[in-house]
C-alpha cells in the first residue's frame, strides 16, 4: 500500500475543503468565475442606520503627500481628470485647514494645523440644502443618511451646486470619457451635462463593503460607521475626542466629523 489511511483522509479532507471554499468565494460579487450560480443573496439592510464618516486630521497629516483615498475613490467611480481647474471634477480632495474651516481659526493657530491639508468631500448632511432645491428629485436623502444622486434624471440645472455650502458638487462641463485613465467597467461613468458628487460608495455599502476611501487609507485616519449604534467605532471616537464639522452654523447638520 503506497498511501496509508491517515494520509488518504488528510488528502481527501483538504480536497473537499478547497472545493467548498472555491464554491463559497464565487458567491461574492466581483468574482471572475462567471459559472457560479448566485446563492440566495441577502440584501444588506440599512434599517435604522445612520452612516457617518470621521476623519482624524492629525493621523491624515502623518501621510505627507499621501492621496490613496482620493485615488481609490476616483478610480472606483471613473472620475475624470481634465487637468484644469475650470472643468475639474472631484469627489474627495484636500484643502487647507483654514479654507475648510474658515471660521474656526485665528491669527495664532498652530501653523502646522493652519496649512494642514484636510480631506473634504460631500458631507451627506442631515438637512441637505441641495436636496431641498433640486427641481426633479435627482438628489435625495436616503433613510440611512446617504445623499444620493440619480444621474439619469438630472437635468443639469446646477441649482444643487449653487445651494451646497461646501463646494462638494461638480458638474460635467464636457464629455468625461476621454479623460478617464482606467475605466472601471463595473461602475458607470457619467456624461456631459449632469452633476456628480461623492455617493458614500452606495454600491459598495449595498454588498456589505465600506467606502473605498476608508478602505484605502493606510494611516488609519478614516473611520466609517453607523451613528445609531452606540458601540460603533465612530460613536466611540466622537464620544471621546473633540470633533468639529464644517460650517455648523448653517443648519445643514453635516455628517462628516473631523477630529482635530
Amino acid at each position: 500500500m503506497g498511501v496509508d489511511r491517515r494520509k488518504f483522509l488528510t488528502i481527501a479532507g483538504l480536497t473537499t475543503l478547497t472545493a467548498l471554499g472555491k464554491k463559497a468565494s464565487s458567491v461574492l460579487p466581483g468574482n471572475e468565475d462567471s459559472s457560479a450560480v448566485f446563492d440566495p443573496m441577502q440584501p444588506v439592510s440599512t434599517e435604522g442606520k445612520r452612516y457617518a464618516l470621521v476623519i482624524d486630521i492629525r493621523k491624515c497629516l502623518k501621510g505627507e503627500g499621501c492621496h490613496d483615498c482620493i485615488d481609490a475613490c476616483h478610480l472606483t467611480h471613473n472620475v475624470p481628470d481634465f487637468g484644469n481647474p475650470k472643468d475639474e471634477i472631484k469627489w474627495i480632495w484636500k484643502e487647507h485647514y483654514e479654507e475648510a474651516f474658515p471660521k474656526q481659526e485665528h491669527p495664532f493657530t498652530d501653523k502646522g494645523l493652519k496649512e494642514a491639508p484636510v480631506l473634504v468631500l460631500c458631507n451627506h448632511c442631515d438637512n441637505p440644502p441641495c436636496v431641498r432645491v433640486c427641481p426633479t428629485q435627482s438628489t435625495w436623502k436616503r433613510d440611512d443618511g446617504v445623499v444620493m444622486m440619480d444621474m439619469h434624471r438630472c437635468i443639469g440645472c446646477r441649482y444643487c451646486v449653487a445651494a451646497c455650502p461646501y463646494g462638494s458638487r461638480s458638474f460635467n462641463w464636457r464629455d468625461p470619457r476621454p479623460f478617464i485613465k482606467d475605466v472601471n467597467a463595473e461602475y458607470p461613468t457619467r456624461t456631459r451635462g449632469v452633476v456628480e458628487k461623492c455617493n458614500l460608495c452606495a454600491e459598495r455599502l449595498a454588498v456589505g463593503k465600506i467606502p473605498a476611501c476608508v478602505e484605502a487609507c493606510k494611516h488609519g485616519a478614516l473611520f466609517f460607521g453607523d451613528l445609531e449604534d452606540p458601540e460603533s467605532e465612530v460613536r466611540e471616537l466622537l464620544g471621546s475626542r473633540y470633533a468639529i464639522r464644517r460650517k455648523p452654523d448653517l443648519g445643514t447638520s453635516p455628517q462628516v466629523y473631523y477630529l482635530v
Partner: protein
C-alpha cells in the same frame, strides 16, 4: 391677424432679416454647445451660473414690469394708460419666452427638462418658477390676444377677461418674487441671502421695464404714425423715477449692512464688485459705470424740467436700463459665487459662444415684439385710425 406681420416696408423687412440672421447664428452656436457641453461657456466648477441665468433674471424683471401700466389702468381707472397696456403685455410675453429660452440653453441636459413636470417638487423654487412663469405667459398671451381681437372688431373686450387681467397683477409680482427666492433662500451664498433681494428685484424691474416701454413708445413714434401721447409718457417716467429711487436706496441699505457690521463674509462680495478681491477686478469698472449711470439717471429723473424734456428723458431711460442691466445681468449672479465656499476667487466672463447664443435669444425676443407690435399697430390703423395719431399726421390727413 398674423398676416399683418408679413407685410411691411423695406425697413421692416430689413430689420426682420437682420434679426433672423442673428437668431440663426445663435442657433448654430447652440448646436456647438450641445455637442461639446456647457464647457464652451466661461463657467467653471466655482462659478456655475453666469450670463444665461443673469439674462433670465433680468428679463423676468422686464416681464413683470407690464404690471406698472396694467395696475393703474385696471385698478384705478387711469385712462391715460389705456393704449399702452397691450404694448406692455406684448413685451411681457416676449420677455417670458426669452426667459424660458435662456433657462433652456443653460441646462446641461435640456432634453430632460420635462422631468420637472414628470416629477413635481414643491420644495424646489425652480419648480415654482417654472409654474409661475408658464402661468404668466399664458395669462398675458390670452389677455393680449383677446383685447387686440376686441380692438379689431371695434367692440369692448368680453367681460370675463377683466378678472383674468386682475389676476395677472399679483401674478406679475409673484414671478419676480419667486425668482428672487431662487437666490435668497440659499444659506450657501451670503451675497444672495438677504431679505432685501426680492424688494430690490421688484424695484429694479419697475424702473427698467417702464423705462424700456418709454423708449419703445418713442421708437414707435419715430417709425410709425402713432404717438402714445404726452400724459402716459409723463406718468410712466414718474413711475420709473420712484422705482429707481427705491432701487438705489435698497442698494445703499445693503452696502450699509455689509460694511457697518464688518463681517468679512458679507463685505467680500461688495469688495469684489467695487474694488476687486485678491487682485481680481473684472467687474469693478462695470459696477462703477452702473453706479454712475444710476446717479446720472436720478438727476435727470428727479428734476421735473429734465424729466419732462423728451430728449433728456430718453437719455435718462437709457441710463436706467443700462445701469440696471449691468447690476442684474452682470454683477448679481456671478458675485454670489465669489468668493467660493473655500474663499477662492474664480472669475468669470462670458465666451463668444455664450455671447452669440444670448444674442440669438435676444433677437428672438425682439423678433416677437416686432411681430406683435406690427400686428397691433396695423389693427389700430385699420380699425381706430384716429387713435394715437401724431398731431402733424392727423392734420395732414384731414386736409
Amino acid at each position: 391677424m398674423l398676416e399683418k406681420a408679413l407685410v411691411g416696408d423695406k425697413r421692416y423687412y430689413g430689420w426682420m432679416a437682420f434679426l433672423l440672421v442673428v437668431i440663426g447664428v445663435g442657433f448654430l452656436f447652440y448646436l456647438k454647445q450641445l455637442g461639446y457641453g456647457l464647457g464652451v461657456t466661461g463657467l467653471s466648477r466655482d462659478v456655475t451660473w453666469g450670463f444665461y441665468i443673469a439674462q433670465f433674471t433680468f428679463l423676468v424683471g422686464v416681464a413683470a414690469s407690464a404690471v406698472m401700466v396694467v395696475l393703474p389702468y385696471y385698478l384705478h381707472n387711469f385712462k391715460a394708460f389705456g393704449k399702452l397696456t397691450i404694448l406692455g403685455e406684448f413685451v411681457a410675453v416676449s420677455s417670458v419666452i426669452m426667459c424660458m429660452l435662456f433657462i433652456f440653453v443653460d441646462m446641461g441636459q435640456p432634453f430632460r427638462i420635462l422631468n420637472t413636470i414628470l416629477h413635481p417638487t414643491p420644495n424646489s423654487l425652480m419648480f415654482f418658477d417654472m409654474l409661475v412663469l408658464g402661468g404668466y405667459l399664458f395669462l398675458n398671451a390670452l389677455i393680449s390676444r383677446v383685447t387686440l381681437d376686441a380692438e379689431r372688431k371695434e367692440i369692448a373686450p368680453p367681460k370675463w377677461i377683466k378678472p383674468i387681467i386682475i389676476i395677472s397683477i399679483p401674478w406679475a409680482i409673484s414671478i419676480h418674487t419667486v425668482t428672487a427666492f431662487l437666490y435668497s433662500g440659499l444659506a450657501a451664498r451670503s451675497f444672495w441671502m438677504t431679505a432685501v433681494l426680492a424688494p430690490r428685484f421688484l424695484a429694479s424691474a419697475f424702473a427698467s421695464g417702464p423705462a424700456l416701454l418709454i423708449l419703445i413708445c418713442f421708437l414707435i413714434r419715430k417709425f410709425t404714425r402713432f404717438d402714445a401721447g404726452r400724459e402716459p409718457i409723463r406718468k410712466l417716467s414718474i413711475i420709473v423715477t420712484y422705482a429707481m429711487c427705491v432701487n438705489v436706496f435698497l442698494i445703499l441699505m445693503e452696502l450699509f449692512t455689509a460694511f457697518y457690521s464688518n463681517i468679512p463674509e458679507h463685505m467680500h462680495h461688495f469688495e469684489y464688485l467695487f474694488v476687486g478681491l485678491e487682485g481680481h477686478t473684472t467687474l469693478v469698472p462695470w459696477m462703477w459705470a452702473s453706479s454712475i449711470l444710476a446717479i446720472v439717471s436720478l438727476i435727470f429723473l428727479l428734476v421735473p424740467k429734465f424729466r419732462n424734456n423728451e430728449k433728456i428723458l430718453i437719455i435718462a431711460c437709457i441710463t436706467v436700463f443700462v445701469s440696471i442691466w449691468i447690476d442684474k445681468g452682470l454683477g448679481m449672479v456671478v458675485t454670489g459665487f465669489v468668493p467660493s465656499p473655500f474663499g477662492a476667487v474664480t472669475e468669470y466672463w462670458p465666451t463668444w459662444t455664450e455671447f452669440f447664443i444670448s444674442m440669438g435669444v435676444y433677437a428672438l425676443g425682439a423678433f416677437l415684439v416686432t411681430v406683435f407690435y406690427k400686428i397691433t399697430l396695423s389693427v389700430r390703423e385699420e380699425h381706430a385710425p384716429d387713435m394715437d395719431v401724431k398731431p402733424e399726421v392727423a392734420s395732414a390727413e384731414s386736409n
